[in-house]
Each structure stands twice: as structure tokens, then as C-alpha cells.
Amino acid sequence: MALPGRSRRAMTVAPSSTPGPSIPRDPTRADRAFLLALIVLGGSYLLVLGAMLVADASYTSPSHLWKALRSPEIRYAIHLSFLTCTLTAILSVWVAVPIGYLMARWRFPGRALVDALLDIPIVLPPLVIGLSLLILFQTPPGRAIERFIPVTYAIPSVILAQFMVACAFAVRTMRATFDLISPRQEHVALTLGCSRPQAFWWVVIPEAKRGILTAGTLAWARALGEFGPILVFSGATRMKTEVLPTTVFLELSVGNLEAAVAVSLLMVVAAVAVLLIIRTFGAQESIGRPL
């Protein structure tokens, strides 16, 4: 469809040495209005997000933060959060890579159903995930596992609750990653003498390195913020199953708003730091590489 005269002329790019009438390169009023609308709509979200963080920061003080960091309960929660989030991220990548690869490469009966099933943890309320896990471990197979490894209301339940939600995000990321890697590279590897496993490890995995890193980061960050399933499946016992979101909840419930805000800020700083580190590393890895 042809664009109205003025906009069409403005969008035409011609080399400056081209003879003939000059074509305006400056944005027209319509271009500026369009850009402004995009900035206003997107910016309003960023503004509220920034304002929330500034409000948190202004509500607390370095002394509150220091006091929070010296509390043994909060230090335990920090350690447990970092431990469980790291284990969850590793487990999520371990599972998401094969699922993402299978879903991206193979067509099989019931594939649409499996695809929908994989999205359940994303669309279900987190509390329902926790409740379902709790019920699962009341069934005979669940009780059999509990006889060897205590799960419910213990540290493994924290990891399992985080994993069930975070893994769904890692699977989505890996699926998109493998969708973007051409099967032709694997085909070539096969003709060069590779078996399927060799083509996977020597060609597909190195090509998917950035996607794997992103999936792991996303799972880590998602696990750090997980609260609903942990509350139901692990409880909120201090110095036992207390992770950082649990601390915020417990401090809020006893009216200690300053400590709750201080812990919230710690979580914000930790999440931003991890995202920045990984993105910087990812950017260095991908210099000059088309995505």
C-alpha cells in the first residue's frame, strides 16, 4: 500500500551524492509524533518502575540495611536463597535443554498437548503449584520418597517449588534458541562424519551457548522472586526454609516495615547485578555475531 506523499518521501533513503531534487532526511512532524507516542507509552511503565525503586530506597537507610545484614535470620535467608536459586538454575538448564531441543526439532503425536502442558507453570497461580506439590507428596509415591529424603517443609521443597516454576521459563527460552539454530548446521555435521550425539555436543550446544546462559539467568532470577509455592510447600520457618521473599513476608507480618524494605532492596540489587553480569558477558560473547 502506498504511503501518503509526505511520509513516503521522508522514508525514502538516497545517497547524498544522488543528483536531482533533495529528499528530506529530517524526521517529519508525523515521525516525531509517532516517536513521542512510543516514548510516552513505554516511558510511563519505566517511570512507575523507577519510582517504586526510588520510593523503596528513600524509605530505608544504610543503617537499616546494615542492621538487616547483621541479623542471623536474614543472613541465613540470603545464603539459602543463593544456594537454592543456583541449584534451581542448574537443574532448570539441565532439563530445559533436552525439552527445548526435542520440541524444536521433532514432530510427534500429542506435541500440541505437551506444548500446552509445558506452559502450565507459567499460567497457573504460584500458590496452586505449591498446593499441587504438597498434595503430590501426600500420595503413596510421594510418601515413599519422603521416607528416604524429607522434602515437604524442608530445604528440598524450596528447590523443588522454585524449580517447577523457573524451569518453565528456561524451557521457553531454550525452545526459542533451538528454533533459531538452523537444522542445516546439524545436517552438515552429520555428513562430515558426526553421529547425532556428536553433532549435538560439538555443533548445537556451542551454537546455543548464549541461549543456555540466558535460560540459566532467567531461571535464577525467577527462583529468587518465588514465594507462593514456597509458602505452601515449604512453610515459612525461620532458619529452616526461610528464603528472601519469605523474610519480606515475615518482617511485614510483624510490622517491621524497615527490615522488609531493606531485604527487598537487597533482592533488587542481587537480581540487577546478576542480570547485568550475564548480559555484559553475553554481549562480549556475541560481538559481531548476528542473532
Binding site: 542445516r184 545436517h187 552438515v188 555428513t191 562424519g193 551454537e207
Partner: protein, 216 residues
């Protein structure tokens, strides 16, 4: 020699049936046909990338119909080159040799030889990002020829190149064919490429292959 007899191949709902042809050793065969006629499906069948429903493929009297691609000894260059972004040009040329567990000195010597024949020596330490279309196709050719395959299958390797680069790669292909004596099966839509390179033209029309011998 490639001998394809009454081959049936399926790609989704597309069925290529009862295809037969023979390509003599050392020939440069160009496979032509309309879009959707099944040229790539046929090439994938020969390379072992697509399951054969019935019929047979023989390579020098060896039945390779159901062999995996790795055991066929066929070099493959796809349209989009499909380079491995995590490897340097030298690592591309060494890839098939490392898979075959060649000793390091033999790999180094072969990489130098292939790089010289394809004018890739100045690019050996570079990664594939930033290579031009012609350079990428030369790397893909070198990667496919590194292990000295009996057959080289090319799936429209020149279609994404400009005219000048296309001419350059055509010359490279003609020289490689002359110096190595490898049997080539090359898919193209371009009549000029066929006129310039082919010693035999195969036309795939309505599921059957017509053969036309030429003196290039």
C-alpha cells in the same frame, strides 16, 4: 559413480517417486528443475539426510541406501553455507578430520592444502562473522572437501551471491573439479551455471529425471 534406482522419498506430504539416474565417476552433474520439483529432497536422500521409502542408492557398487550420512563419504554444501559460528575458518577445515581422529600433523597439513586451493589462507584465524558471501561459500566448500569425499553435493550454493562473486565461485568449482576429480551433484536454477560447469545435466520434471550429456 552414483546409481539411483527407483527411489521413493517423502518430505511431509510431498512424495518423490520412482526416480532413477546414473552419474559416472568424475562427472560434474547439474540437477535442474522447477521450484518444488523435489531437487533438494533428492539431494538430501543421496546424502542420507532423508529416509528412503523404497528404491536404492549405490555409490561405486556399494549400497548406501540405508547408511547414516557419516558413513557415506559425501561432502555437502547447503545453500546458506551453514557455517559453525563458534569455530574459526581453520577449525572448519579441520572439523571432519578431527571427527575422523586424524593425527594433528596430518590435520595441519591438510588444512594448509585446502586453504591454499580455495585462497582461504589469510582467513584461517578468523571467525565466520564478517566473512563475505563468497568467502563463506569457499569455507563451506573447503569444509566439505577436507576429508576427500568421493561425491560432493551442492544445494544451490551460488544462489545468494552477486554476479561477480558467483563467477568467482564458479571458477573455483571448475578448478576444484578439474584438480580433485571429485564427482559433483550440483543443484541450480541458473542456466549459465549449468552451461559453464556441467558435463551432464539432469532435469527433474514431474518426478522423472532426464539426462543430457554435455562437453563443458
Amino acid at each position: 559413480m552414483i546409481n539411483v534406482r527407483q527411489l521413493h522419498l517423502r518430505a511431509g506430504s510431498f512424495l518423490l517417486s520412482n526416480v532413477s539416474f546414473t552419474i559416472a565417476s568424475g562427472s560434474y552433474a547439474v540437477l535442474m528443475g522447477r521450484t518444488g520439483s523435489g531437487k533438494t529432497t533428492l539431494l538430501e536422500g543421496v546424502c542420507g539426510l532423508r529416509r528412503v521409502e523404497s528404491g536404492s542408492i549405490h555409490l561405486h557398487d556399494r549400497d548406501i541406501t540405508h547408511l547414516p550420512p557419516a558413513s557415506r563419504g559425501i561432502g555437502f554444501v547447503p545453500q546458506e553455507a551453514a557455517l559453525f559460528h563458534h569455530l574459526t575458518v581453520a577449525e572448519h577445515l579441520a572439523f571432519a578430520l578431527r571427527v575422523r581422529k586424524w593425527p594433528d600433523p596430518a590435520i595441519r597439513s591438510r588444512v594448509v592444502e585446502v586453504a591454499e586451493s580455495l585462497r582461504l589462507t589469510p582467513l584461517l584465524d578468523r571467525h565466520t562473522q564478517g566473512l563475505s558471501g563468497g568467502e563463506s561459500q569457499r569455507v563451506a566448500l573447503g569444509r566439505a572437501l577436507s576429508f576427500r569425499p568421493d561425491i560432493l553435493c551442492l544445494d544451490e550454493p551460488l544462489s545468494a551471491l552477486d554476479d561477480e562473486t558467483r563467477d568467482e565461485i564458479c571458477s573455483v568449482l571448475a578448478t576444484l573439479h578439474r584438480t580433485t576429480g571429485v564427482t559433483v551433484l550440483h543443484i541450480t536454477h541458473n542456466q549459465r551455471e549449468a552451461d559453464r560447469l556441467a558435463s551432464v545435466v539432469l532435469r527433474l520434471e514431474q518426478g522423472s529425471v532426464a539426462c543430457e550429456h554435455r562437453s563443458p
